[in-house]
């Protein structure tokens, strides 16, 4: 650590400011979701669950949650699987065109979501597939696989390079080695990737907005409500969404940190 204690306090204050900036909107949304006043400002009104009731007695909102759930779970499964395959291929093999292969797998996050949404919409509409749940799933998998791939790849980087050879050496076929060694080793990363991709999918609004048509996901509903007047239902919906997402993310991170530090061997 670098010395100089006097103005360290300033630094810490700055960091606190950044954190306040990041978390304040979330906090206020949460607080105001229970506020009785229609327009959120201070002073606060009284505590109420009115907005929650209002939001969740709306069939559209329930539908949206249902769709979001289906989509994010499906996406999580597929993206994690694809991400795992890619990460393992990258780890194990060296082949012609590998850089191109990697670039392709990791490129999606660099394309603005609006454009992805438009592209997916255009293509799917052309082949008559737009507006279906499966279209959202497909689009989200494209977006989320890179994250899954990165997480699993990081975990594989920690593996003892001889672990696979040791399994073969002890009589395990390639397929068995995958089942008994690689997958168990990557388990924390796989779970983590699953949770993360589910969260990303659950929260993604731009592409979903373009592609979902009548099968709206929750973020799409939020977008639509946003376009109207200030509607406090958003706070209610948003808080629920936020709690869901954050639970998933926290789960992902904790599982990864806990399991991987406990079970990583670095030789001796």
């Amino acid at each position: 650590m670098i010395r100089a204690k006097a103005y360290d306090g300033l630094f810490f204050f700055y960091v606190a400011l950044v954190f306040v900036f990041v978390f304040l909107p979330i906090l206020t949304s949460f607080v105001f979701s229970f506020n009785s006043e229609r327009f959120p400002t201070i002073p606060l009104g009284h505590f109420t669950l009115h907005w929650y009731t209002l939001a969740f007695t709306d069939a559209d909102v329930w539908d949206a949650f249902r769709v979001s759930l289906i989509v994010s779970l499906s996406v999580a499964f597929i993206a994690t699987f694809l991400g795992f395959c890619t990460a393992y291929t990258d780890y194990r093999y060296n082949f012609f065109g590998k850089s191109a292969y990697l670039a392709l797998s990791l490129l999606p996050p660099t394309i603005p979501l609006v454009i992805m949404g438009l592209a997916m919409l255009a293509l799917l509409a052309r082949i008559g597939m737009s507006g279906k749940i499966i279209s959202i799933i497909v689009s989200h998998v494209v977006l989320c696989s890179p994250f899954a791939m990165a997480i699993v790849r990081m975990r594989l980087a920690q593996i003892d390079p001889n672990l696979e050879s040791a399994a073969w050496n002890l009589g395990a076929s390639q397929w068995r080695t995958m089942r008994e060694v690689i997958v168990p080793f990557c388990a924390p990363a796989l779970i983590s990737a699953f949770c993360l991709t589910a969260a990303v999918s659950f929260d993604e609004f731009a592409v979903a907005w373009f592609v979902s048509g009548l099968n709206k996901t929750v973020p799409v509903i939020i977008l639509e409500i946003l376009q109207g007047n200030t509607d406090p239902r958003i706070n209610a919906i948003g808080s629920v969404v936020f709690v869901t997402s954050i639970t998933l993310i926290i789960l992902a991170q904790i599982i990864y940190m806990r399991k991987s530090t406990r079970k990583t061997l670095t030789g001796f």
């Binding site: 909107p25 206020t28 609006v114």
Partner: protein, 266 residues
């Protein structure tokens, strides 16, 4: 290697299709396949397109600079002045919001920045304001920051934590003051991470429509808003495709330039 197939079909192909589509025509609200560069000519001829282009470019550029500058002291503190445990928890808490409810946070900012919103009320208590913050560039920047700042901090942090402490000590040992060391030694060493963070900021702010739309007043429009307008009202998908392709090309150019610069002279 199923992922290659998937990516090819669902990622590359749609984008290629977009390119193709930009040459199609729209007659009576329906698209007609063809090869006509009229969309390109018309779009590039429109003043509002170029306005939007340079504006978006400028917004993204400014945001990148602002975000990078604001992120640095935070990343620096977390890299050098706290214990590893604190650092890990900080990273954890910074990554969390990145993936959650960008929309809701923007909505909250709407409330905050509103003329009758919390900030103005508080300022009113001390006799200041009210300041018009919504529907201004300021609002847009606040939105972009919400999107980019955590990521910038995390990326810069990773790079800064990997700086070899001994080099810093060597610099001090040779008489370089703490402040100067930051610019003379630390930043050059963490150059890659800082540039990567900046590139991501740029990409995100360049393509985002939520912030300029909901906090910036949506007029005059950025390219992303232009796409949405062109698509949702008017069904002019080919025109939207033109905007989209232009955006992609611009982004790739900037990305490659930045990375080339970053890896030059290693």
């Amino acid at each position: 290697m199923p992922i290659v197939v998937w990516q090819l079909v669902f990622f590359v192909f749609p984008l290629l299709f977009l390119l193709l589509m930009s040459f199609w025509l729209v007659k009576n609200y329906r698209m007609v396949p063809g090869f006509d560069s009229v969309n390109w000519i018309k779009m590039y001829g429109k003043g509002y397109f170029w306005d939007g282009y340079w504006r978006t470019l400028g917004y993204a550029g400014i945001t990148t600079v602002i975000t990078s500058v604001l992120a640095f002291p935070c990343a620096f503190t977390l890299a050098f002045k706290v214990s590893p445990t604190v650092r890990r928890w900080a990273m954890f808490f910074l990554i969390v919001p990145f993936f959650t409810s960008y929309l809701v946070r923007i909505f909250s900012w709407q409330i905050f920045l509103n003329d009758n919103g919390i900030i103005n009320v508080l300022l009113g208590l001390v006799g200041l304001g009210p300041f018009s913050m919504l529907n201004t560039f300021f609002g847009t920047v606040v939105g972009y920051l919400t999107l980019c700042l955590p990521l910038a901090v995390v990326l810069q942090l990773i790079s800064l934590s990997n700086v070899d402490r001994r080099l810093i000590e060597a610099a001090h040992n040779l008489g370089c003051g703490s402040f100067r060391t930051v610019f003379a030694v630390i930043i050059p060493l963490a150059k890659i991470g800082i540039i990567v963070a900046a590139v991501f900021c740029f990409i995100l702010s360049f393509g985002d429509f939520v912030s300029p739309y909901y906090l910036g007043g949506s007029k005059p429009p950025t390219l992303s808003i232009l796409i949405i307008d062109t698509t949702k009202s008017g069904q002019q998908w080919p025109r939207a495709a033109v905007v989209a392709i232009t955006m992609i090309v611009t982004l790739f150019t900037i990305m490659f330039t930045a990375i080339a610069l970053a890896y030059r002279r290693r």
